[in-house]
Protein backbone atom coordinates (compact mmCIF):
# COMPACT_ATOMS: atom_id res chain seq x y z
CA UNK A 1 0.00 0.00 0.00
CA UNK A 2 1.05 3.56 -0.79
CA UNK A 3 0.06 6.42 1.49
CA UNK A 4 -1.21 9.49 -0.28
CA UNK A 5 -1.40 12.95 1.25
CA UNK A 6 -4.35 14.96 -0.04
CA UNK A 7 -4.10 18.77 0.13
CA UNK A 8 -6.91 20.97 1.39
CA UNK A 9 -7.88 22.00 -2.13
CA UNK A 10 -8.67 18.44 -3.12
CA UNK A 11 -10.32 17.26 0.07
CA UNK A 12 -13.79 18.12 -1.20
CA UNK A 13 -13.29 15.31 -3.69
CA UNK A 14 -11.90 12.88 -1.10
CA UNK A 15 -14.79 13.56 1.30
CA UNK A 16 -12.50 15.43 3.65
CA UNK A 17 -9.90 12.68 3.94
CA UNK A 18 -6.37 13.96 4.49
CA UNK A 19 -4.66 10.64 3.86
CA UNK A 20 -5.78 7.78 1.69
CA UNK A 21 -4.10 4.50 0.89
CA UNK A 22 -3.93 2.72 -2.44
CA UNK A 23 -2.21 -0.10 -4.25
CA UNK A 24 -0.24 1.00 -7.31
CA UNK A 25 2.97 0.30 -9.22
CA UNK A 26 3.64 3.85 -10.35
CA UNK A 27 2.21 7.35 -10.14
CA UNK A 28 0.16 7.00 -13.31
CA UNK A 29 -1.64 3.90 -12.10
CA UNK A 30 -2.03 5.47 -8.67
CA UNK A 31 -3.94 8.37 -10.19
CA UNK A 32 -6.18 5.92 -12.05
CA UNK A 33 -6.91 4.02 -8.82
CA UNK A 34 -7.70 7.24 -6.99
CA UNK A 35 -9.94 8.41 -9.82
CA UNK A 36 -11.94 5.20 -9.56
CA UNK A 37 -12.56 5.88 -5.85
CA UNK A 38 -12.85 9.65 -6.02
CA UNK A 39 -14.28 10.64 -9.40
CA UNK A 40 -13.01 14.04 -10.56
CA UNK A 41 -9.71 13.86 -8.72
CA UNK A 42 -7.63 12.97 -11.75
CA UNK A 43 -9.14 15.80 -13.76
CA UNK A 44 -7.74 18.20 -11.18
CA UNK A 45 -4.26 16.76 -11.59
CA UNK A 46 -3.68 15.88 -15.23
CA UNK A 47 -4.84 17.44 -18.47
CA UNK A 48 -6.64 15.69 -21.33
CA UNK A 49 -3.29 14.54 -22.76
CA UNK A 50 -2.52 12.85 -19.47
CA UNK A 51 0.24 15.28 -18.46
CA UNK A 52 0.44 16.64 -14.96
CA UNK A 53 -0.81 20.17 -14.61
CA UNK A 54 2.03 22.45 -13.80
CA UNK A 55 0.34 23.66 -10.67
CA UNK A 56 0.38 20.32 -8.91
CA UNK A 57 3.61 19.14 -7.38
CA UNK A 58 3.64 15.38 -6.87
CA UNK A 59 6.14 14.05 -4.37
CA UNK A 60 7.29 10.54 -3.60
CA UNK A 61 8.95 10.34 -0.21
CA UNK A 62 9.26 14.12 -0.25
CA UNK A 63 11.02 14.27 -3.60
CA UNK A 64 9.25 15.88 -6.50
CA UNK A 65 8.53 13.42 -9.31
CA UNK A 66 9.94 15.82 -11.91
CA UNK A 67 13.31 14.94 -10.44
CA UNK A 68 12.43 11.24 -10.53
CA UNK A 69 10.66 9.63 -13.46
CA UNK A 70 7.58 11.84 -13.66
CA UNK A 71 4.30 9.96 -13.93
CA UNK A 72 6.25 6.78 -14.51
CA UNK A 73 7.99 7.01 -11.14
CA UNK A 74 7.69 3.52 -9.62
CA UNK A 75 6.05 3.09 -6.24
CA UNK A 76 6.89 0.55 -3.58
CA UNK A 77 5.16 -0.63 -0.47
CA UNK A 78 4.99 2.07 2.21
CA UNK A 79 6.03 4.88 -0.16
CA UNK A 80 4.50 8.21 0.72
CA UNK A 81 3.00 10.27 -2.05
CA UNK A 82 2.02 13.89 -1.54
CA UNK A 83 -0.03 16.00 -3.91
CA UNK A 84 0.62 19.66 -3.23
CA UNK A 85 -0.61 22.46 -5.45
CA UNK A 86 2.09 24.91 -6.43
CA UNK A 87 2.26 28.34 -4.93
CA UNK A 88 2.91 30.60 -7.83
CA UNK A 89 2.00 33.89 -9.42
CA UNK A 90 3.75 37.15 -9.95
CA UNK A 91 3.34 40.63 -11.27
CA UNK A 92 3.35 39.52 -14.90
CA UNK A 93 -0.17 39.57 -16.25
CA UNK A 94 -0.92 42.42 -13.94
CA UNK A 95 -1.96 45.79 -15.14
CA UNK A 96 1.55 46.63 -16.29
CA UNK A 97 4.34 44.85 -18.04
CA UNK A 98 7.74 44.96 -16.40
CA UNK A 99 8.73 47.68 -18.83
CA UNK A 100 5.61 49.71 -18.08
CA UNK A 101 6.19 49.30 -14.38
CA UNK A 102 9.58 50.92 -14.79
CA UNK A 103 8.50 53.49 -17.35
CA UNK A 104 5.70 54.82 -15.19
CA UNK A 105 7.28 54.08 -11.78
CA UNK A 106 7.58 57.76 -10.88
CA UNK A 107 3.91 58.28 -11.68
CA UNK A 108 2.74 55.15 -9.93
CA UNK A 109 4.43 56.03 -6.65
CA UNK A 110 2.56 59.33 -6.52
CA UNK A 111 -0.43 58.48 -4.33
CA UNK A 112 -2.53 60.89 -6.41
CA UNK A 113 -1.86 58.86 -9.55
CA UNK A 114 -0.93 55.33 -8.49
CA UNK A 115 -1.40 52.28 -10.66
CA UNK A 116 -5.06 53.10 -11.07
CA UNK A 117 -4.35 56.57 -12.43
CA UNK A 118 -1.70 55.27 -14.75
CA UNK A 119 -4.15 52.71 -16.10
CA UNK A 120 -6.61 55.56 -16.71
CA UNK A 121 -3.99 57.42 -18.70
CA UNK A 122 -3.23 54.29 -20.72
CA UNK A 123 -6.94 53.90 -21.49
CA UNK A 124 -7.46 57.56 -22.33
CA UNK A 125 -7.99 58.93 -25.82
CA UNK A 126 -6.84 62.44 -26.55
CA UNK A 127 -7.15 64.35 -29.81
CA UNK A 128 -4.59 66.99 -30.69
CA UNK A 129 -5.70 69.54 -33.22
CA UNK A 130 -2.47 70.45 -34.92
CA UNK A 131 1.03 69.01 -34.60
CA UNK A 132 2.67 72.41 -34.60
CA UNK A 133 3.98 74.77 -31.95
CA UNK A 134 1.46 73.92 -29.22
CA UNK A 135 0.81 70.36 -30.33
CA UNK A 136 4.53 69.51 -30.21
CA UNK A 137 5.22 69.84 -26.48
CA UNK A 138 1.73 68.58 -25.67
CA UNK A 139 2.23 65.44 -27.78
CA UNK A 140 5.70 64.79 -26.38
CA UNK A 141 4.65 65.00 -22.74
CA UNK A 142 1.27 63.32 -23.15
CA UNK A 143 2.96 60.52 -25.05
CA UNK A 144 5.68 60.17 -22.44
CA UNK A 145 3.01 60.14 -19.71
CA UNK A 146 1.35 57.16 -21.33
CA UNK A 147 -1.80 58.59 -22.87
CA UNK A 148 -2.84 55.38 -24.59
CA UNK A 149 -4.47 56.74 -27.74
CA UNK A 150 -3.40 60.01 -29.28
CA UNK A 151 -5.18 61.26 -32.37
CA UNK A 152 -3.49 64.03 -34.31
CA UNK A 153 -5.30 66.06 -36.96
CA UNK A 154 -3.02 67.90 -39.31
CA UNK A 155 -2.87 68.07 -43.10
CA UNK A 156 0.34 70.08 -43.27
CA UNK A 157 3.91 69.07 -44.04
CA UNK A 158 7.01 70.00 -42.07
CA UNK A 159 8.60 73.23 -43.26
CA UNK A 160 12.02 74.60 -42.33
CA UNK A 161 10.34 77.69 -40.84
CA UNK A 162 8.47 75.44 -38.38
CA UNK A 163 11.53 73.99 -36.74
CA UNK A 164 12.41 76.82 -34.37
CA UNK A 165 9.37 75.91 -32.28
CA UNK A 166 7.72 72.70 -33.50
CA UNK A 167 9.93 70.30 -31.58
CA UNK A 168 8.06 67.17 -32.66
CA UNK A 169 9.77 67.43 -36.01
CA UNK A 170 13.43 67.21 -36.93
CA UNK A 171 15.40 68.59 -39.81
CA UNK A 172 15.31 65.25 -41.59
CA UNK A 173 11.50 65.41 -41.61
CA UNK A 174 11.21 68.52 -43.77
CA UNK A 175 8.63 67.86 -46.43
CA UNK A 176 7.00 64.94 -44.60
CA UNK A 177 3.46 65.03 -43.28
CA UNK A 178 3.49 66.36 -39.73
CA UNK A 179 1.27 63.54 -38.47
CA UNK A 180 3.77 60.95 -39.72
CA UNK A 181 6.74 62.74 -38.26
CA UNK A 182 4.80 63.24 -35.00
CA UNK A 183 3.90 59.59 -34.75
CA UNK A 184 7.51 58.55 -35.20
CA UNK A 185 8.75 60.95 -32.54
CA UNK A 186 6.09 60.05 -30.00
CA UNK A 187 6.57 56.32 -30.47
CA UNK A 188 10.29 56.77 -30.24
CA UNK A 189 9.73 58.09 -26.72
CA UNK A 190 6.94 55.70 -25.81
CA UNK A 191 5.91 52.72 -27.94
CA UNK A 192 2.84 52.22 -25.69
CA UNK A 193 1.07 55.13 -27.37
CA UNK A 194 -1.19 54.37 -30.26
CA UNK A 195 -0.88 57.45 -32.44
CA UNK A 196 -3.82 57.80 -34.81
CA UNK A 197 -2.97 60.09 -37.72
CA UNK A 198 -5.78 62.11 -39.28
CA UNK A 199 -4.09 63.40 -42.41
CA UNK A 200 -6.64 66.07 -43.21
CA UNK A 201 -7.86 69.47 -42.15
CA UNK A 202 -10.54 69.58 -39.47
CA UNK A 203 -13.70 70.72 -41.24
CA UNK A 204 -17.39 70.99 -40.56
CA UNK A 205 -17.78 67.80 -42.53
CA UNK A 206 -15.44 65.62 -40.46
CA UNK A 207 -15.13 67.35 -37.06
CA UNK A 208 -17.95 65.55 -35.25
CA UNK A 209 -16.86 62.17 -36.54
CA UNK A 210 -13.20 62.69 -35.61
CA UNK A 211 -13.69 64.39 -32.25
CA UNK A 212 -16.37 61.87 -31.34
CA UNK A 213 -13.71 59.15 -31.11
CA UNK A 214 -11.85 60.85 -28.26
CA UNK A 215 -12.33 61.72 -24.60
CA UNK A 216 -11.06 65.26 -24.88
CA UNK A 217 -9.42 67.68 -27.26
CA UNK A 218 -6.21 69.70 -27.02
CA UNK A 219 -6.46 72.69 -29.28
CA UNK A 220 -3.24 73.70 -30.95
CA UNK A 221 -4.64 75.30 -34.06
CA UNK A 222 -3.36 78.53 -35.52
CA UNK A 223 -6.41 80.14 -37.07
CA UNK A 224 -9.78 81.47 -36.05
CA UNK A 225 -11.88 79.29 -38.30
CA UNK A 226 -10.56 76.08 -36.75
CA UNK A 227 -10.75 77.56 -33.27
CA UNK A 228 -14.47 78.29 -33.64
CA UNK A 229 -15.04 74.92 -35.29
CA UNK A 230 -13.29 73.02 -32.49
CA UNK A 231 -15.15 75.05 -29.90
CA UNK A 232 -18.57 74.37 -31.43
CA UNK A 233 -17.92 70.69 -32.16
CA UNK A 234 -16.63 70.02 -28.63
CA UNK A 235 -19.67 71.77 -27.20
CA UNK A 236 -22.08 69.70 -29.31
CA UNK A 237 -20.25 66.48 -28.39
CA UNK A 238 -19.84 67.48 -24.72
CA UNK A 239 -16.07 66.99 -24.83
CA UNK A 240 -13.71 69.09 -22.72
CA UNK A 241 -11.55 71.40 -24.82
CA UNK A 242 -8.09 72.30 -23.54
CA UNK A 243 -7.43 75.53 -25.34
CA UNK A 244 -4.20 77.41 -25.90
CA UNK A 245 -2.95 80.16 -28.13
CA UNK A 246 0.18 82.19 -28.66
CA UNK A 247 1.04 85.56 -30.13
CA UNK A 248 4.59 86.97 -30.41
CA UNK A 249 5.77 86.88 -26.77
CA UNK A 250 2.44 86.15 -25.08
CA UNK A 251 0.24 83.16 -24.68
CA UNK A 252 -2.94 82.04 -23.01
CA UNK A 253 -4.58 78.83 -21.93
CA UNK A 254 -7.91 77.72 -20.52
CA UNK A 255 -10.17 74.70 -20.32
CA UNK A 256 -13.66 74.85 -21.75
CA UNK A 257 -15.97 72.40 -20.05
CA UNK A 258 -19.22 71.96 -21.98
CA UNK A 259 -21.91 73.98 -20.28
CA UNK A 260 -19.47 76.08 -18.28
CA UNK A 261 -18.65 78.58 -20.98
CA UNK A 262 -16.90 78.43 -24.30
CA UNK A 263 -14.69 80.38 -26.67
CA UNK A 264 -17.71 82.17 -28.07
CA UNK A 265 -18.61 83.41 -24.59
CA UNK A 266 -15.30 85.31 -24.69
CA UNK A 267 -15.28 86.15 -28.40
CA UNK A 268 -18.75 85.91 -29.93
CA UNK A 269 -17.36 86.93 -33.31
CA UNK A 270 -13.95 86.66 -34.95
CA UNK A 271 -11.85 89.74 -35.60
CA UNK A 272 -12.10 91.14 -39.11
CA UNK A 273 -9.92 89.22 -41.56
CA UNK A 274 -6.33 90.46 -41.39
CA UNK A 275 -6.82 92.39 -38.16
CA UNK A 276 -4.80 89.82 -36.21
CA UNK A 277 -1.66 88.70 -37.98
CA UNK A 278 -0.66 85.03 -38.00
CA UNK A 279 2.60 83.62 -36.63
CA UNK A 280 4.02 83.78 -40.13
CA UNK A 281 3.20 87.47 -40.36
CA UNK A 282 3.88 88.60 -36.79
CA UNK A 283 6.58 86.19 -35.67
CA UNK A 284 6.60 84.24 -32.44
CA UNK A 285 9.17 83.43 -29.78
CA UNK A 286 10.01 79.78 -30.45
CA UNK A 287 10.05 78.77 -26.78
CA UNK A 288 6.64 80.32 -26.07
CA UNK A 289 4.48 77.45 -27.36
CA UNK A 290 6.60 75.19 -25.16
CA UNK A 291 5.21 76.89 -22.08
CA UNK A 292 1.60 77.02 -23.26
CA UNK A 293 1.58 73.53 -24.82
CA UNK A 294 2.95 72.02 -21.63
CA UNK A 295 0.28 73.78 -19.58
CA UNK A 296 -2.26 72.21 -21.93
CA UNK A 297 -0.64 68.81 -21.37
CA UNK A 298 -0.84 69.20 -17.59
CA UNK A 299 -4.49 70.26 -17.76
CA UNK A 300 -5.22 67.27 -19.98
CA UNK A 301 -3.68 64.85 -17.50
CA UNK A 302 -5.53 66.50 -14.61
CA UNK A 303 -8.82 66.12 -16.45
CA UNK A 304 -8.16 62.46 -17.26
CA UNK A 305 -7.26 61.72 -13.65
CA UNK A 306 -9.80 64.03 -12.04
CA UNK A 307 -6.92 65.66 -10.23
CA UNK A 308 -6.63 69.12 -8.70
CA UNK A 309 -8.33 72.27 -9.90
CA UNK A 310 -8.77 72.35 -13.66
CA UNK A 311 -8.24 75.62 -15.51
CA UNK A 312 -11.99 75.96 -15.97
CA UNK A 313 -13.60 79.41 -15.90
CA UNK A 314 -10.12 80.84 -15.70
CA UNK A 315 -8.09 82.27 -18.55
CA UNK A 316 -4.37 82.04 -17.82
CA UNK A 317 -2.35 84.79 -19.51
CA UNK A 318 1.39 84.50 -19.89
CA UNK A 319 3.74 87.35 -20.77
CA UNK A 320 7.22 86.01 -21.43
CA UNK A 321 8.91 89.44 -21.54
CA UNK A 322 7.53 90.44 -18.14
CA UNK A 323 7.79 86.76 -17.11
CA UNK A 324 4.39 87.03 -15.58
CA UNK A 325 1.34 84.82 -15.30
CA UNK A 326 -2.02 86.45 -14.73
CA UNK A 327 -5.42 84.93 -14.37
CA UNK A 328 -8.74 86.30 -15.55
CA UNK A 329 -12.02 84.81 -14.33
CA UNK A 330 -14.31 83.87 -17.17
CA UNK A 331 -17.79 82.41 -17.15
CA UNK A 332 -20.56 81.26 -19.36
CA UNK A 333 -22.24 84.22 -21.08
CA UNK A 334 -26.05 83.92 -20.98
CA UNK A 335 -26.13 85.61 -24.39
CA UNK A 336 -23.49 83.31 -25.93
CA UNK A 337 -24.67 82.31 -29.41
CA UNK A 338 -23.55 78.72 -28.73
CA UNK A 339 -23.89 77.84 -25.05
CA UNK A 340 -26.09 80.75 -23.94
CA UNK A 341 -29.73 80.64 -22.91
CA UNK A 342 -31.03 81.24 -26.43
CA UNK A 343 -28.45 79.75 -28.75
CA UNK A 344 -28.44 80.69 -32.42
CA UNK A 345 -25.64 78.33 -33.39
CA UNK A 346 -27.22 74.89 -33.20
CA UNK A 347 -25.06 73.01 -35.68
CA UNK A 348 -21.67 73.34 -37.31
CA UNK A 349 -21.52 76.21 -39.81
CA UNK A 350 -19.27 77.37 -42.62
CA UNK A 351 -16.31 78.60 -40.56
CA UNK A 352 -14.26 79.96 -43.44
CA UNK A 353 -17.12 82.22 -44.39
CA UNK A 354 -17.71 83.10 -40.73
CA UNK A 355 -14.08 84.09 -40.19
CA UNK A 356 -13.40 85.37 -43.67
CA UNK A 357 -10.23 83.33 -43.87
CA UNK A 358 -9.06 79.90 -44.96
CA UNK A 359 -8.64 77.09 -42.48
CA UNK A 360 -5.32 75.63 -41.75
CA UNK A 361 -4.83 73.05 -39.06
CA UNK A 362 -1.42 73.35 -37.69
CA UNK A 363 -0.07 74.93 -34.58
CA UNK A 364 1.03 78.52 -34.65
Amino acid sequence: MVKVYIPTVLRKITNGQTRVEAEAADIRSLLDRLEARFPGLKGQLVDSQGNLFRFVNVYVNNREVDELQGLGTPLREEDEVALIPAMAGGAVGGAFSLEQGLRYARHIILPEIGGQGQRKLLRSKVLLIGAGGLGSPAALYLGAAGVGTMGIVDFDTVDLTNLHRQILHGHKNIGRLKVDSARETVNDINPDVQVVPHREALTSANALEIIGQYDLVVNGCDNFATRYLANDACYFLKKPLVDGSIFRFEGQATVFMPGKGCYRCLFPAPPPPGAVPSCAEAGVLGVLPGIIGVIQAIETIKLILGLGEPLVNRLLLFDSLAMEFREVKIRRAPDCPLCGDNPTVTELIDYEAFCGGPMATTGG
Binding site: F55, A86, G90, A91, V92, G94
Partner: protein
Protein backbone atom coordinates in the same frame (compact mmCIF):
# COMPACT_ATOMS: atom_id res chain seq x y z
CA UNK B 1 -8.11 39.96 9.85
CA UNK B 2 -4.56 38.64 9.96
CA UNK B 3 -2.25 39.39 12.84
CA UNK B 4 1.50 39.55 12.68
CA UNK B 5 4.21 41.25 14.66
CA UNK B 6 6.17 44.25 13.50
CA UNK B 7 9.27 42.02 13.49
CA UNK B 8 7.57 39.49 11.21
CA UNK B 9 6.52 42.22 8.84
CA UNK B 10 10.05 43.58 8.89
CA UNK B 11 11.33 40.11 8.09
CA UNK B 12 9.07 39.93 5.03
CA UNK B 13 10.16 43.39 3.87
CA UNK B 14 13.83 42.50 4.36
CA UNK B 15 13.34 39.32 2.36
CA UNK B 16 11.70 41.28 -0.47
CA UNK B 17 14.43 43.92 -0.53
CA UNK B 18 17.22 41.34 -0.46
CA UNK B 19 15.63 39.48 -3.35
CA UNK B 20 15.38 42.41 -5.71
CA UNK B 21 15.13 42.68 -8.65
CA UNK B 22 13.45 39.29 -8.48
CA UNK B 23 10.23 38.56 -6.70
CA UNK B 24 10.52 36.66 -3.45
CA UNK B 25 8.01 34.30 -1.86
CA UNK B 26 7.34 32.53 1.38
CA UNK B 27 4.77 31.05 3.70
CA UNK B 28 3.23 32.16 6.94
CA UNK B 29 2.42 29.50 9.48
CA UNK B 30 0.21 30.13 12.47
CA UNK B 31 -3.09 29.56 14.17
CA UNK B 32 -6.42 31.32 13.92
CA UNK B 33 -5.19 34.13 11.76
CA UNK B 34 -2.16 34.90 13.87
CA UNK B 35 1.23 34.38 12.26
CA UNK B 36 3.67 32.36 14.34
CA UNK B 37 6.42 31.83 11.83
CA UNK B 38 7.60 33.31 8.56
CA UNK B 39 9.07 30.70 6.21
CA UNK B 40 11.26 32.15 3.51
CA UNK B 41 11.28 29.94 0.45
CA UNK B 42 13.25 29.99 -2.78
CA UNK B 43 11.68 31.38 -5.93
CA UNK B 44 12.06 28.67 -8.55
CA UNK B 45 11.08 31.15 -11.28
CA UNK B 46 14.05 33.47 -10.51
CA UNK B 47 12.18 36.31 -12.14
CA UNK B 48 11.28 39.94 -11.48
CA UNK B 49 7.71 39.24 -12.55
CA UNK B 50 7.05 35.62 -11.57
CA UNK B 51 7.33 33.42 -8.55
CA UNK B 52 6.92 29.77 -7.89
CA UNK B 53 7.81 28.37 -4.51
CA UNK B 54 10.57 25.83 -4.95
CA UNK B 55 8.73 22.46 -4.66
CA UNK B 56 11.27 21.10 -2.21
CA UNK B 57 10.73 24.11 0.06
CA UNK B 58 7.00 23.75 -0.35
CA UNK B 59 6.82 20.21 0.97
CA UNK B 60 9.32 20.96 3.72
CA UNK B 61 7.07 23.78 4.94
CA UNK B 62 3.94 21.65 4.63
CA UNK B 63 5.52 18.95 6.75
CA UNK B 64 6.81 21.41 9.29
CA UNK B 65 3.43 23.10 9.60
CA UNK B 66 1.82 19.73 10.15
CA UNK B 67 4.43 18.60 12.66
CA UNK B 68 3.91 21.79 14.68
CA UNK B 69 0.14 21.66 14.39
CA UNK B 70 0.10 24.98 12.55
CA UNK B 71 -2.11 26.16 9.71
CA UNK B 72 -1.04 27.78 6.50
CA UNK B 73 -2.16 31.30 7.34
CA UNK B 74 -0.80 32.94 4.23
CA UNK B 75 1.42 32.94 1.19
CA UNK B 76 3.45 36.06 0.54
CA UNK B 77 5.32 37.33 -2.46
CA UNK B 78 6.72 40.61 -3.67
CA UNK B 79 5.84 42.81 -6.62
CA UNK B 80 8.95 44.74 -7.45
CA UNK B 81 7.51 47.33 -9.78
CA UNK B 82 3.80 47.25 -9.22
CA UNK B 83 1.22 47.62 -6.54
CA UNK B 84 0.59 45.32 -3.61
CA UNK B 85 -2.47 43.94 -5.36
CA UNK B 86 -3.01 40.49 -6.93
CA UNK B 87 -2.25 40.43 -10.64
CA UNK B 88 -4.28 38.31 -13.07
CA UNK B 89 -1.52 35.73 -12.82
CA UNK B 90 -1.76 35.72 -9.04
CA UNK B 91 -5.49 35.10 -9.28
CA UNK B 92 -5.18 32.44 -11.94
CA UNK B 93 -2.59 30.51 -9.95
CA UNK B 94 -4.25 30.86 -6.56
CA UNK B 95 -4.91 27.26 -5.52
CA UNK B 96 -5.23 27.83 -1.79
CA UNK B 97 -8.72 29.15 -1.13
CA UNK B 98 -8.22 28.99 2.63
CA UNK B 99 -4.94 30.86 2.70
CA UNK B 100 -4.44 34.58 2.53
CA UNK B 101 -2.34 36.02 -0.23
CA UNK B 102 -0.03 38.72 1.06
CA UNK B 103 1.67 41.08 -1.35
CA UNK B 104 4.63 43.33 -0.77
CA UNK B 105 5.11 46.23 -3.14
CA UNK B 106 8.60 47.63 -3.59
CA UNK B 107 7.53 50.34 -6.01
CA UNK B 108 8.65 52.83 -3.41
CA UNK B 109 11.58 50.94 -1.97
CA UNK B 110 11.98 53.33 0.92
CA UNK B 111 8.47 52.52 1.94
CA UNK B 112 7.47 48.92 1.18
CA UNK B 113 3.78 48.19 1.42
CA UNK B 114 2.16 44.97 2.66
CA UNK B 115 -1.46 44.07 1.95
CA UNK B 116 -3.42 40.87 2.39
CA UNK B 117 -6.16 39.40 0.21
CA UNK B 118 -8.41 36.43 -0.04
CA UNK B 119 -8.82 35.16 -3.57
CA UNK B 120 -12.23 33.58 -4.00
CA UNK B 121 -12.86 31.24 -6.89
CA UNK B 122 -15.63 28.74 -7.50
CA UNK B 123 -12.98 26.15 -8.38
CA UNK B 124 -9.31 26.44 -7.45
CA UNK B 125 -8.44 25.96 -11.11
CA UNK B 126 -10.66 28.81 -12.34
CA UNK B 127 -8.78 31.52 -14.17
CA UNK B 128 -10.66 34.37 -12.56
CA UNK B 129 -11.98 35.16 -9.15
CA UNK B 130 -12.98 37.77 -6.67
CA UNK B 131 -10.36 39.61 -4.69
CA UNK B 132 -11.25 40.66 -1.14
CA UNK B 133 -8.82 42.66 0.94
CA UNK B 134 -8.26 41.48 4.49
CA UNK B 135 -7.04 43.92 7.13
CA UNK B 136 -3.63 43.34 8.65
CA UNK B 137 -3.08 44.00 12.33
CA UNK B 138 0.54 44.64 13.18
CA UNK B 139 1.32 44.01 16.81
CA UNK B 140 4.32 45.34 18.67
CA UNK B 141 6.93 42.66 19.19
CA UNK B 142 6.53 40.69 22.39
CA UNK B 143 8.96 41.63 25.11
Amino acid sequence: MVKLTAAQRQDIFAHALEGRPNEVCGLLGGREGRVHKVYRTRNKANSPVRYEIEPQDLIRCHLELEANDMELVGIYHSHVFSEAYPSNTDVRLAYYPDALYLLVSLMDDGNPILRAFRILKAQPTDERGEIAEVPIEVEAAEL
